[in-house]
């Protein structure tokens, strides 16, 4: 697909993405944005942090996605007593032929293409930090030996925003590793009916693998090729700059409630996610609208509000809404 004509590549990209989406939607009702977000992370080589109250189908969604693609999947239930070695793996002494013994690295559950880090905020920062290298470098280092993670590698973490007792909020460095932070929304009336129909009946829909690993890698490559005009990229840059209170042109809400703005990774996340969105929309180039669409999921977990913002219950989404509303497009 990489060598085919652009319109063929884009058409295939859209077809494959649609196939995955259709498979996922066999189990997951609604949550279209969430599905697109996960798909975006998969194709943009990013990781996703899913946030939502229990029962909204986060885990089901991730499992469905992993089932729809021919990728290895592992689920890690994060608990306070979970250790890094439980995730990464450990070196064991084992007997080999001839009665000899040797050290052998026993891989942990992180060695999978799709890793579900369920309730990631319930484990200690020590364990959480075990994911840092894996998420950023796609490799883990144990006993001075670096072990590459399978490609593609996708961490899909979930966290519950309500039960905060005994949890360990993810540090900023950890949050910054996630390409998108997605919110699971409560289904509407029709969707609830559909959920009940699908889950309480005798028939349980099965999700088939519709996308091979090679295809996924091709799609990830195509995403990188999407063209971005300078003025569109400039919009992404200015969007990022607008999250910093000390930059000129920062909206009043940013100046008042934001302590730290998004890092350059935020702009990277915006652009790569926008490229995926452009492809999903069947375009060869990124539009400003794509940037706007992914701005909130890409930046919401990268804004650190100050005490006043948190005391007044201001959310990052509100701040980002204000920025998007007031930031003009780059004009020629």
């Amino acid at each position: 697909m990489n060598d085919s004509a652009p319109h063929v590549a884009v058409d295939q990209f859209r077809t494959r993405a649609e196939r995955v989406r259709s498979e996922v939607e066999k189990l997951v009702v609604g949550q279209r944005d969430l599905i697109d977000g996960l798909l975006t992370c998969l194709l943009a080589r990013g990781h996703a942090l899913l946030e939502g109250v229990p029962g909204l189908g986060k885990t089901v969604l991730v499992r469905s996605l992993a089932s729809a693609v021919e990728l290895s999947f592992s689920r890690i239930q994060f608990t306070p007593d979970l250790m890094p070695a439980d995730i990464i793996g450990t070196t064991l002494i084992r007997e080999i032929a001839g009665g000899q013994r040797e050290f052998a690295f026993e891989t942990g559950p992180i060695f999978a293409n799709v890793v579900l880090a369920d309730e990631v905020n319930r484990t200690t920062p020590k364990t959480q930090s075990a994911l840092l290298e894996a998420m950023q470098e796609h490799s883990v280092t144990v006993a001075k030996t670096t072990h590459a993670l399978p490609d593609p590698f996708l961490v899909l973490a979930t966290q519950n925003p309500l039960e905060m007792e005994g949890t360990y909020p993810l540090p900023e460095a950890q949050l910054d590793r996630f390409l998108l932070k997605l919110h699971a929304t409560f289904p509407d009336h029709t969707e609830l009916h559909a959920i009940l129909d699908r889950t309480t009946g005798s028939e349980r829909p099965e999700v088939r693998a519709v996308l091979s690993r090679t295809e996924i890698l091709d799609m990830q490559q195509i995403v990188r090729e999407v063209a971005v005009a300078r003025h569109v990229q400039d919009y992404a840059v200015r969007l990022l700059e607008a999250t910093h209170r000390d930059r000129p042109g920062a909206p009043a809400m940013v100046q008042r409630y934001v302590r730290y703005g998004a890092s350059p990774r935020g702009a990277q996340a915006c652009l790569i996610a926008a490229k995926t969105q452009a492809l999903l929309a069947g375009r060869y180039h990124v539009a400003t609208e794509d940037i706007r669409r992914v701005a909130k999921p890409a930046l919401r977990h990268r804004l650190i509000l100050n005490f006043e913002g948190e005391a007044e219950g201001v959310s990052s989404d509100q701040v980002l809404d204000e920025i998007i509303a007031k930031l003009p497009e780059t004009r020629g």
Binding site: H7, A229, H285, E289
Partner: protein, 650 residues
């Protein structure tokens, strides 16, 4: 060259010419790409679509600019018309017209030639046609060198080129009339309404500069009013040569005032001249009226002519004529014998009245002759050292006597003619009544003539009143000018100049018959007054002062000329020192006048305060005695105000 420039500008405006700026280079590169790379045609297609929108944008901006420029032009036109209607037209109107044209051209041309970037135009296409940054991104990719374009960029350009023909510039940017055009009709109506207002009457004479306040003699309204009154007098059919001449002189004077071709002093002088002429003419009328009253008293004593006499006494000339007509009717040939007797009686009464009037007239003539002779004798014996005032008084009395003499002669001729006619009527036989009738008709004509004379007198009185009004106005305006000058530090010195010399010289010239070549300095020296000379004749005045000093050394002093009670001036022998004190300009109304004779020998021994008091009292008494125009009185008062001692100045 102009055509080439215009074509180049047009190509630049259309965006198809070889532009020399950065965008132009990109354009050339795009052209090169069209021949070197497969996506070159896409670049040209995109560029064509974008350039079409750029032209549209310029056109829209030009329309908007034209809208605003039109408002500005209309506003300027309104201002210009208002200025021409309520102010002074002229170069301001022309300048406004040019400014309006230049403003319109500048605004529209700058809007048409303003730079519109292709990226902005492409974004406009995207927004108008809801294309998600397709054209703008394609143009951004087109600006890249071909080797740096990814296959997706090329695909995006191809997409844009494919849809570029679908979205025309007219669809992308439909021309919208600027809202400000809605204000055009309103402003246009205002301008038209202003244009309907009649323009102010153009001034007959446009002065080079605004006249000084002190030179603003009469208001234009007042001049117009006076001209209307003159016109009314003309329509009153006063067929009198002297009145018509006065009329014309008055009109010419008003025209000079309107043209600012006369100064205040000269105007006052001319008004005084007119006043004197009108007064002289009116005096003749008054004397005739007096004689008619005497005639009326004579007729009243007779029963038959009582009605005529009473009418004449009342100076009711209409009733007199009616009574005379009745008498003429009674004297018709159809009358009975007793009526003929009554007619004879009437003739006798008329003759008696005429005889009495003739006697009185002869007495007055004799008296006038005596006066004239005595004046002529006095003039022949006139001393060279007599003052100008005395000379002027004598001359004036002589003129008056001569005038009365002339009037008496005229009346004598009229009475003679009337008497002849009565004699003829008395001598004719009863069978020739037509002659009597003619005599009575002649008497009626005489009365009619007198009636016209009365109307003439009224006209002259009106003219005198108007002249007095004007003199009063001039006095008032000068007082205001003084007040203005006092409130304006550093007011022009010229405006504050008092030309007392002119005031004194002109009447003297008029009455003494001096030729125009006589200089004011000569008059001053001859008259012996200590009036200042104007700047122009300062040199001549100096010579006259020397002559005067020489004369004083040889003849009795000024106090002796006409004032024997003061005697010869006492010579103190003190060393006289001429001291000149410069006026301080800028501290209010400063009046400067050089008084030459005050420093002459002989006056130095008298206190200046006493000299001033005596002279001022004398002048005041003369003013009270003589009927002088208000303007002249003002000059005299002003003169003594200016020369009064400093301690009493306050």
């Amino acid at each position: 060259m102009l055509m080439v420039g215009a074509a180049s500008a047009m190509r630049c405006w259309c965006g198809t010419g070889p532009a020399r700026h950065k965008r132009g280079r990109v354009t050339q590169r795009a052209r090169a790409a069209s021949t070197q790379s497969p996506d070159g045609s896409n670049v040209l297609a995109i560029q064509r679509a974008i350039d079409a929108v750029r032209r549209r944008v310029r056109l829209q901006r030009g329309l908007s600019a034209a809208g605003y420029a039109g408002v500005a032009v209309l506003a300027l036109a309104g201002l210009s018309i208002a200025h021409s209607r309520f102010g002074r037209a002229g170069s301001w109107t022309t300048a406004t017209s040019w400014l309006a044209i230049a403003l319109f051209v500048l605004l529209v041309s700058s809007a048409l030639c303003a730079r519109v970037s292709r990226l902005a135009a492409a974004q406009l296409i995207d927004r108008a046609n809801q294309l998600p940054d397709l054209m703008s991104s394609a143009w951004a990719f087109a600006e890249l060198p071909p080797e740096r374009r990814s296959r997706f960029a090329v695909a995006a350009m191809a997409d844009a080129a494919a849809v570029s023909g679908r979205y025309s510039a007219a669809v992308t940017l439909p021309l919208a009339w600027p809202r400000v055009i809605g204000a055009w009709p309103l402003l246009g109506v205002g301008v038209l309404a202003l244009a309907q207002i009649p323009a102010a009457r153009p001034a007959a004479h446009t002065p080079q500069a605004e006249p000084l306040l002190s030179e603003q003699l009469l208001s234009s309204d007042e001049i117009e009013r006076q001209q209307r009154l003159l016109e009314r007098d003309r329509k009153a059919h006063v067929q009198d040569a002297s009145v018509l001449e006065l009329d014309r002189a008055f009109e010419a004077l008003l025209a000079r005032v309107e043209r600012h071709a006369i100064d205040r002093a000269q105007l006052l002088h001319e008004l005084a001249e007119l006043d004197m002429r009108a007064r002289d003419a009116a005096t003749v009328s008054a004397e005739r009226a007096g004689e008619l009253r005497e005639l009326g008293r004579a007729f009243s004593s007779q029963a038959d002519t009582r009605e005529l006499g009473q009418a004449l006494e009342r100076h009711d000339l209409t009733a007199s004529r009616s009574a005379l007509d009745k008498l003429a009717a009674r004297a018709t040939p159809a009358t009975a014998p007793h009526e003929r007797r009554a007619l004879d009686k009437l003739r006798a009464a008329l003759r008696s009245g005429l005889t009495r009037a003739e006697q009185q007239r002869q007495q007055r003539m004799e008296q006038a002759r005596r006066t004239l002779d005595s004046l002529q004798r006095e003039r022949e014996k006139e001393q060279p050292g007599s003052t100008g005032t005395q000379q002027a008084e004598r001359q004036r009395a002589l003129d008056e006597a001569l005038r009365r003499e002339r009037a008496n002669r005229q009346r004598e001729r009229e009475l003679d003619r009337l008497e002849r006619e009565l004699d003829q009527a008395a001598a004719e036989k009863p069978s020739a009544p037509d002659q009597t009738q003619r005599a009575l008709e002649s008497a009626s004509e005489t009365l009619e003539r007198m009636q016209r004379d009365r109307q003439r007198g009224r006209t002259l009185e009106g003219m005198q009143e108007r002249i007095a009004e004007l003199q009063q106005q001039l006095t008032d305006t000068e007082a205001r000018a003084d007040a203005d000058a006092a409130s304006t530090p550093g007011a022009p010195d010229e405006a504050q100049r008092v030309d007392v010399e002119r005031f004194r010289a002109k009447p003297h010239e008029r009455r003494s018959g001096n030729s125009a070549g006589d200089t004011p300095a000569d008059d001053t020296a001859a008259s012996g007054t200590f009036l200042p000379a104007s700047r122009e004749n300062a040199q001549t005045s100096a010579e006259a002062r020397e002559l005067k000093a020489q004369r004083i050394s040889e003849e009795p002093g000024p106090s002796q000329a006409g004032r024997p009670e003061r005697g010869r001036a006492t010579r103190s022998g003190a060393a006289d020192v001429d001291v000149s004190v410069a006026g301080v300009i800028g501290q209010g109304a400063t009046r400067r006048s050089v008084i030459y004779d005050a420093a002459a020998r002989g006056f130095g021994t008298l206190g200046y305060e006493k000299v001033h008091t005596d002279y001022a009292q004398h002048a005041e008494a003369e003013l009270e005695r003589e009927p002088l125009p208000a303007g002249y009185r003002h000059f005299v008062h002003r003169y003594f105000d200016l020369i009064q001692p400093e301690d009493t100045h306050e």
